[in-house]
């Protein structure tokens, strides 16, 4: 294999393109609820999404990327001389790009995450047989695909019931605004801060022990809570209506949850585009393969940039469309669905499990619907999504197998 540099650059370009498509579709879907409820303007949504997405990818993105790069199909199962691993990863990347392009064209509800995982399994099977695929890991991944929408739904359901009973319909609304709201804010902030401090600063070589992250998270949470309580008390002195205050609080909270979703998207989906790139970058031109190397920062950065560029070039139109169509979402419901989904996706990311951010968000919306929070949810669409799960993985695998075989014949 002669020009390693050229091959790496080509791979990087394809990875960038894959990330670009992710930013144009998936990330835009996540921000739609905030624009629909009127809490964020289109410009603000794009800005918030861009910053949060970068943070998510750079701070927490390496876990899922690792899984895709070496967790499902390990390079150790391959012979360096045959370059099968390199070709295979490249085939997985290219086939995913083509597969998503076609699915997009025909408007099919296909998940980028499912596609890349299916593609990697595909090349593993053709290049190394069933033995080289880590079926235990695949089992966990498939379980996470089913459980992430369910967990998202349960979280959103629980949070919504809580908000409605303890805040919106509490017998003593004044007390609810003064006490329950600040406590709730403490909880929300702590969860968010903890999620990106925990394991999150290793990339910047600022690894901190768990109890320190918890401490920092609680401190920030309490500060936010105190701030909210003081603000509420001052507004109530000015005789402001407590329901107005709650509504305004949730408008701000929804900005927070929207960023949280974008952050979680960065953490979980950046790997979809750059997983194979990382695998190739770490192992190209080496004499032995190894799995100890982490994900290089430049790879994470490339993926995150691809997503953000995709968001800014094409994604903003998707946000606009989604926002215009989803007019039924109030800030409280939007916040609940987003917070439930983001927490789930981030939790999965920290475990290195690649899940579909969009499908988890759908699960969270259904959770709110089950709590009687949405006028109408079309379960037929949900059925279509579930059906697509069973089709996507085999289809993506077959695509990859074909491309891999083409590559081997052409390059050998």
């Amino acid at each position: 294999m002669e020009s390693y540099g050229l091959f790496l650059v080509v791979t990087a370009i394809v990875a960038f393109y894959s990330s670009f498509m992710g930013g144009a579709n998936d990330l835009a879907n996540s921000m739609g609820t905030s624009v629909g409820s009127g809490v964020l303007t289109l410009k603000k949504a794009v800005l918030v999404a861009a910053i949060a997405n970068y943070a998510g990818a750079l701070l927490v993105g390496q876990y899922v990327t690792s899984t895709i790069a070496k967790g499902i199909v390990s390079p150790m199962a391959f012979d360096v001389g045959s370059n099968d691993f390199i070709y295979g990863m490249f085939a997985a990347l290219v086939s995913t790009g083509i597969f998503l392009h076609i699915a997009n064209h025909y408007g099919l509800p296909v998940s980028t995450t499912h596609s890349i995982v299916g593609a990697v399994v595909g090349f593993g099977l053709i290049a190394g047989g069933t033995a080289c695929v880590n079926w235990k890991k695949m089992g966990f991944i498939v379980i996470s695909w089913f459980s992430s929408p369910l967990v998202g739904a349960t979280l959103a359901f629980t949070i919504f019931i809580f908000i409605r009973r303890k805040l919106l319909e509490s017998k003593d609304a004044k007390r609810a605004v003064r006490l329950v709201l600040p406590v709730f804010v403490v909880f929300v902030f702590s969860v968010i801060i903890l999620s990106f401090l925990y394991k999150g600063l290793k990339n910047l070589n600022l690894g901190i022990p768990f109890y320190v992250s918890v401490l920092i998270a609680l401190v920030v949470g309490l500060t936010a809570g105190v701030f909210v309580r003081l603000r509420v008390i001052r507004q109530m002195k000015k005789k402001k209506n407590e329901y107005d205050l709650m509504n305004r609080a949730f408008k701000s909270l929804q900005v927070l949850s929207a960023s949280f979703v974008a952050f979680a998207h960065g953490a979980n989906d950046v790997g979809n585009g750059i997983g194979p790139l990382a695998a190739i970058a770490n192992n190209l031109g080496k004499t032995h393969y190894q799995t100890r190397m982490g994900i290089p920062l430049w790879v994470l950065f490339l993926g995150a940039t691809g997503i953000v560029v995709g968001l800014m070039v094409l994604g903003y139109r998707v946000i606009e469309t989604v926002g215009k169509k989803i007019t039924v979402i109030t800030p409280v419901r939007g916040f609940t669905a987003e917070f439930g989904a983001a927490t789930t996706v981030l939790f999965a990311s920290l475990l290195g499990m690649p899940v579909s951010t969009t499908h988890t968000l759908v699960g969270a919306v259904i959770g709110v619907g089950l709590a009687r929070g949405v006028d109408a949810i079309d379960m037929k669409v949900v059925k279509r999504i579930i059906t697509s799960w069973f089709v996507t993985v085999p289809a993506a695998a077959c695509f990859t197998i074909v491309i891999f075989l083409i590559m081997k014949t052409v390059l050998s």
């Binding site: 879907n29 989604v322 259904i366 929070g373």
Partner: protein, 224 residues
């Protein structure tokens, strides 16, 4: 995933409120219709009757549209059967208004002077029930916001109790009018007496249907 918004279905509550507005429009025409009819201006009464029919038809179109857009695959805060039943009860009010005009158009009836005021009062009482239930439907978005329970639900239940009270008053008014009608039967031909008796029963349908709407809402409100 194509687009996230596909998960959200068209809200059935918007057309429900629209339908109720048409029902109210229909019912609003009854006092002027009866005024003209009792005065003997059968041609102007007929014009107003045509209006009632037109508005009732518009309500039917909204009803049909709603039914076409609530598939079994929708997950809603209320059961599909409950929603459609609520719509049907609402529609019965408009149907009663149209039936009233239709019976009156069968024959150019006259009514003895002493019975004019009692009849108009009865109509007003029935309309009161309809307007009360109109308020209930108009607030369905808010009711849904609060999850069909809590303080809002309690307020709505109170309104429904008022509707039930008004319906009882309408029943009493119907009985007392019918008694007065039969007291004057020697002054009228028997066909007219029976037709007026029927007209009064149809007028009562307005408040009966309103009460049914209220009962349906009761079933949709959760008791936590």
């Amino acid at each position: 995933m194509k687009k996230l918004y596909e998960v959200f279905g068209k809200s059935p509550f918007d057309p429900l409120v629209e339908h109720m507005q048409k029902v109210r429009e229909c019912v609003d025409l009854i006092p002027s219709f009866m005024d003209e009819y009792l005065k003997g201006n059968y041609d102007s009464a007929k014009k107003i009757f045509k209006d009632i029919c037109r508005v009732e038809h518009e309500a039917d179109c909204i009803k049909r549209d709603l039914r076409n857009h609530v598939p079994k695959s929708f997950l809603m805060p209320v059961a599909r059967a409950d929603l459609l039943s609520y719509l049907k009860q609402q529609d019965n009010i408009a149907d009663a208004a149209e039936d009233l005009g239709a019976i009156c158009m069968l024959k150019k009836l006259t009514l003895p002077k002493p019975l004019h005021e009692p009849l108009k009062e009865m109509i007003q009482k029935n309309l009161k029930a309809v307007y009360l239930i109109y308020e209930v439907t108009a607030e369905i978005h808010e009711i849904s916001e609060k999850g069909f329970s809590g303080k809002k639900a309690d307020k709505v239940l109170k309104k429904i109790e008022k509707v039930e009270y008004e319906e009882w008053q309408c029943d009493k008014a119907q009985m007392s009018f019918s008694k007065k009608l039969f007291e004057l039967e020697k002054k009228m031909d028997s066909t007219s007496v029976m037709l007026w008796f029927n007209i009064v029963r149809v007028i009562s349908k307005l408040s009966n249907a309103s009460e049914s709407v209220g009962t349906q809402m009761r079933m949709m409100l959760a008791k936590r």
